[in-house]
């Protein structure tokens, strides 16, 4: 059932609230990239993808791969809100015996399509799923979310080449272009730009959007769906730490959980946000 953009924005805010709570409770994790990808994950799970939380292995389902696996708190929150598992489970993140591992483990968590965490592998896995879809003549789509630093991995470009070669128009990749990686600014560590011309040269349909703008995410997904023969990459300009003022654009919040005080401040800000 189609949701309004306002409803989706409210869900994205809920996901951000859960990310902050989970990471604070866990005492470790990656808030910056989880917050930057939250709107894309919301759009996919609550509007774009065909999937059934009651039947997670439904063969016709659209697949989502979080290749930047360290941002899985955003995905866990979405899975819980969809009903794949109890929301209460979110507070067990990263703890002993929790199905919610620090990085995605498909053997432990319902709703995950692959295990990930070592960067650069997800797009290849997505190619395999997309090839299987074509081979089985099923019309499901495969979505892969990568980080901007992640595409420094050579395997991403091997995968990019093969997706175009096999005309995987059922494959759609997002680059969460938040401009920061652990050691600093992406452009200083190992510049990945110009992204448009790189992906175009690799044979992809390239869209460039504000990846924290719900309307733009939805429109880009519809455009990707209607593209024939070529895979689509959506270069999503985002803000690391989006939604929490003192985390926005701060590289220090890549892999450091908020303190209790920071958590309260963040939750207050998120709740006061006007949607």
């Amino acid at each position: 059932m189609a949701k309004s953009v306002i409803e989706l924005k409210k869900i994205a805010r809920k996901i951000r609230v859960l990310i902050i709570k989970m990471l604070t409770e866990a005492g470790s994790g990656h808030p910056g990239g989880s917050l930057s990808i939250a709107d894309i994950i919301t759009a996919l799970y609550f509007e774009i993808m065909n999937h059934d939380p009651k039947n997670p292995k439904w063969p016709q389902r659209d697949r989502f791969i979080l290749s930047k696996g360290h941002c899985v708190p955003a995905q866990y929150a979405a899975l819980a809100l969809c009903g794949y598992f109890d929301e209460e489970l979110l507070m067990t993140l990263r703890k002993f015996n929790s199905p919610l591992q620090g990085h995605p483990d498909m053997t432990r968590t319902t709703g995950l399509e692959i295990s990930s965490g070592s960067l650069g592998q997800g797009l290849s896995v997505g190619c395999g799923m997309a090839i299987a879809g074509k081979y089985d003549q099923k019309d499901y789509r495969v979505y892969v979310a990568m980080g901007d630093g992640e595409i420094q991995e050579g395997q991403v470009w091997e995968a990019a080449m093969s997706a175009a070669h096999y005309k995987l128009d059922n494959l759609c990749a997002f680059i969460d272009y938040n401009k920061l990686q652990i050691d600093g600014k992406v452009e200083d560590i190992m510049n990945v730009s110009p992204l448009q011309s790189k992906w175009t040269a690799f044979g992809w349909n390239v869209l460039e959007i504000d990846g924290n703008n719900m309307e733009e995410i939805l429109n880009a997904c519809y455009k990707a769906k209607n593209t024939k023969d070529n895979p689509t990459v959506i270069i999503a300009h985002t803000t690391k730490g989006k939604g929490v003022s003192f985390m926005e654009g701060v590289v220090g919040f890549h892999g450091v959980a908020p303190t209790k005080e920071e958590c309260e401040k963040a939750l207050k800000e998120l709740q006061e946000e006007v949607i």
């Binding site: 070592s118 090839i131 299987a132 395997q155 091997e158």
Partner: protein, 312 residues
């Protein structure tokens, strides 16, 4: 030991038999299909074959993706590129999620000969053996290869199957029944046991024949499954013959010799000697010249057996 068949040829033929009957079998290669013999299937069933070019890491990832969609995926290339080159992809995208991917590599070991060190995979078993969930098999000959490939196709989970380029003598009979994790005694003996696999089986048989003439009776065990290893067969051989010699076309660090040593020291220590490449890189030469240089011939194994028996 009359006929000789390259294990890669047996692989190619077996895929041609299995895949047309099972549309869930998908075969991937990384620009080595004419050498790995997956091209034989590619010609017959092109829709079940995907070439990934010279990009092994991507091939393994794609195999994982296909496997999540209920496919039985075979990935093939030369042993060095299909293991070490994409080790972390095998670890994280295949073994950790326990997916149904069969990594079948060819051109393993010293017997690629003239290509030299870059192409002589002699450390692949050690690497792969550290990964949970995976089954590792080194077939002894063409007959065992056929049975291993068929068994891997019908058994869920990751497999690493190591084949060679060279033609190996046929050791096993057609009615041989292969079981995963079950070693087979090829020759009975009471003074020592040689535990070998792959190409080294035929060298071990030569050693046993040399020793027989000197009145030494040697058992030979074909340990084609390295993981899970047949502990019972190893302990039984140690108890009954009191000396163990391993022979593998691989470094002696962490492969078959390492696996057997682990079982022995924890269960029934007896004098032991590992035959294989003793912590060196190979170089260009004929396979026979290399076996001789690295002291891995039947004659060398026979000598090692005698020395090990002396330590009892």
């Amino acid at each position: 030991m009359n006929d000789k068949v390259a294990t890669r040829d047996a692989y190619g033929k077996t895929l041609q038999k299995l895949a047309p009957k099972n549309p869930n079998i998908i075969v991937l290669d990384a620009d080595c299909s004419s050498s790995t013999r997956t091209s034989w299937l590619a010609k017959e069933c092109p829709q079940q074959f995907f070439n990934f070019g010279i990009a092994e890491a991507n091939m393994i990832g794609a195999a994982a993706g296909l496997a999540t969609c209920n496919k039985i995926v075979f990935t093939s290339t030369f042993a060095i590129f299909g293991s070490a080159r994409c080790f972390e992809q095998i670890r994280d995208s295949v073994c950790w999620p326990n997916l149904n991917v069969k990594i079948v590599v060819t051109h393993a070991g010293l017997s690629v000969g003239e290509d030299g060190a870059s192409h002589q995979a002699i450390e692949d078993i050690s690497l792969i053996r550290t990964l949970p969930n995976i089954t590792i098999i080194v077939p002894a000959d063409g007959i065992e290869t056929e049975k291993v490939i068929a068994k891997a196709a019908e058994t869920y989970g990751p497999f690493y199957i190591r084949l060679g380029r060279a033609k190996f003598p046929i050791i096993l009979s057609k009615d041989y029944k292969f079981q995963i994790g079950k070693a087979v005694t090829l020759r009975e003996g009471c003074d020592a046991t040689i535990i070998a696999n792959g190409l080294m089986i035929s060298e071990s048989i030569k050693a046993a024949e040399i020793l027989e003439k000197k009145g030494i009776s040697v058992r030979i065990i074909n340990m084609s499954t390295i993981k899970p290893i047949d502990k019972e067969a190893i302990i039984k051989a140690a108890k009954e013959t009191g000396a163990i010699i391993t022979a593998e076309e691989h470094t002696i660090l962490g492969g078959l010799g390492g696996a057997v040593a682990e079982v022995l020291v924890e269960n029934f220590p007896v004098p032991m000697k590992r035959i294989g490449v003793a912590d060196f890189f190979g170089f260009s030469a004929t396979p026979d010249e290399l076996l001789e240089y690295f002291h891995m011939t039947g004659q060398d194994i026979a000598q090692a057996v005698k020395e090990t028996i002396d330590k009892k």
